[in-house]
């Protein structure tokens, strides 16, 4: 999908917006009871806003993921839209958007090293390559859940609304199966290394 006001030369941004489209649209439509047309308009306006913010250098010190930042723009646009039409604005608690604290990469590293007793850089690099390969080949459901949880730090409720799960418990149930699947493949590949 191309966006009229974003140049075609912004290849990565256009790819990003294409990837975000279905899940963000699903989320704002469900959360704010928007119809398809209004949802699409809001998405398109938010895309322009994102592009302009990047160009104006506002994202130089981005602390969250770009996806979460963009989701927040869409939420703000949705609230503005509802306010203009004097519709009831749902009370949104920011804390329900995210899943608590962000992951501390130093604790993640600490855990990995504790479990492997390996400090060899080459070993860590190989592990990273294996993870990257496995992620590419995962089913979309697992990749979406992992991205939602571990990159965007979204809550299970938000992930449920984005991807059409029945509820947060369904997301958690699917997540554990996806972790199992990932672990099986990862251990298989790591065994070949040793």
């Amino acid at each position: 999908m191309k966006y009229n006001q974003i140049p075609e030369s912004s290849i990565e941004l256009n790819k990003f917006l294409t990837n975000e489209h279905d899940k963000v649209l699903a989320y704002i439509k469900k959360t704010y009871s928007l119809d398809e047309e209004d949802g699409q308009d809001i998405f398109q306006e938010a895309s322009i806003a994102l592009y302009m913010n990047i160009r104006e250098g506002k994202l130089k010190t981005l602390t969250s993921s770009l996806s979460t930042y963009f989701l927040r723009i869409c939420i703000n646009q949705s609230l503005k839209y509802l306010s203009k039409r004097q519709k009831t604005i749902p009370l949104i608690d920011e804390r329900t958007l995210l899943n608590g604290k962000d992951y501390d990469i130093s604790k993640v590293d600490e855990l990995f090293e504790w479990c492997t007793s390996e400090e060899d850089e080459e070993f860590k690099n190989e592990s990273e390559r294996i993870v990257s390969k496995i992620l590419e080949n995962l089913p979309d459901t697992c990749r979406n859940i992992f991205t939602g949880y571990y990159w965007q730090d979204l809550s299970a409720n938000v992930i449920a609304n984005m991807f059409g799960f029945a509820n947060a418990n369904s997301v958690k149930s699917q997540k554990y199966k996806c972790v199992d699947r990932f672990k099986k493949k990862y251990n298989e590949m790591m065994r070949l290394l040793s």
Binding site: K133, V179, Y186
Partner: protein
């Protein structure tokens, strides 16, 4: 036997550690458990690797997007997007497009079905972005050439033979094992190109069996259906 609730709770504990949410006593106890419980350690290691991998992959993508667009060249972005596209224009465009496609198809010659199938499913290889070591770059370059040769009438047979060799060694070779799905996919296409349909089907069936629900399995299923 441990049930789903046990694993969900375990995953939450591991995540709490990685978020720095445990007290120092909790951390100490958790680390002791990791020493003695192989299954817990294996799961924690995989999850740590997963979180690191996801963060690294998407951080690189985000930085690429910001760098791509973070340039001031005087380009003005016009204000709000066009709202509602005229339905009448959409209708007329749709009918015109259908007429063009129908007209075009009328004049397309029918090719040999196998060649046609190959052309429908072959795409140029597009390796994933990221920093590579020297060895990995060499492998990717070799595979890139092989996959291109699959589509080249002069080199297709030679490419097929080499891909067969690599495919048979996948279980023992970590370097090529990283690319196992691509190797299998292009080998299947090479078999089709060289009219070895039974061999192609065998490879595609293995792709489906090994990658349930993944995009590559869906592609393989779709191609297998073409043979029915």
């Amino acid at each position: 036997m441990k049930d789903e609730k046990y694993y969900q709770d375990t995953d939450e504990r591991i995540e709490r550690f990685m978020k720095g949410e445990m007290t120092s006593d909790e951390e100490s106890d958790f680390k002791q458990e990791l020493r003695s419980d192989n299954e817990l350690r294996s799961r924690a290691m995989a999850m740590a690797a997963l979180v690191k991998g996801v963060k690294k992959k998407y951080k690189e993508q985000d930085e690429l997007i910001i760098a791509e667009n973070n340039q001031t060249d005087g380009l003005e972005v016009t204000s709000t997007a066009k709202r509602r596209t005229s339905k009448k224009i959409l209708w007329i465009s749709g009918i015109a497009a259908m007429l063009v496609v129908a007209f075009g198809l009328y004049f397309i010659e029918r090719k040999d079905p196998t060649n046609s199938l190959f052309d429908d499913y072959y795409t140029e290889y597009s390796p994933a972005k990221g920093v590579r070591g020297v060895e990995d770059s060499v492998v990717v370059a070799e595979l890139d050439k092989l996959y291109a040769d699959v589509a080249d009438d002069k080199n297709a047979k030679k490419a097929m033979v080499r891909l067969e060799e690599l495919y048979s060694e996948l279980d023992n070779d970590i370097t090529y094992r990283m690319y196992e799905n691509d190797i299998a996919w292009y080998l299947a296409l090479a078999y089709i190109k060289n009219n070895k349909i039974d061999k192609a089907k065998a490879v595609l069936e293995k792709i489906v069996a090994d990658n349930a629900d993944a995009p590559i399995a869906e592609r393989a299923k779709k191609l297998l259906n073409e043979f029915k």
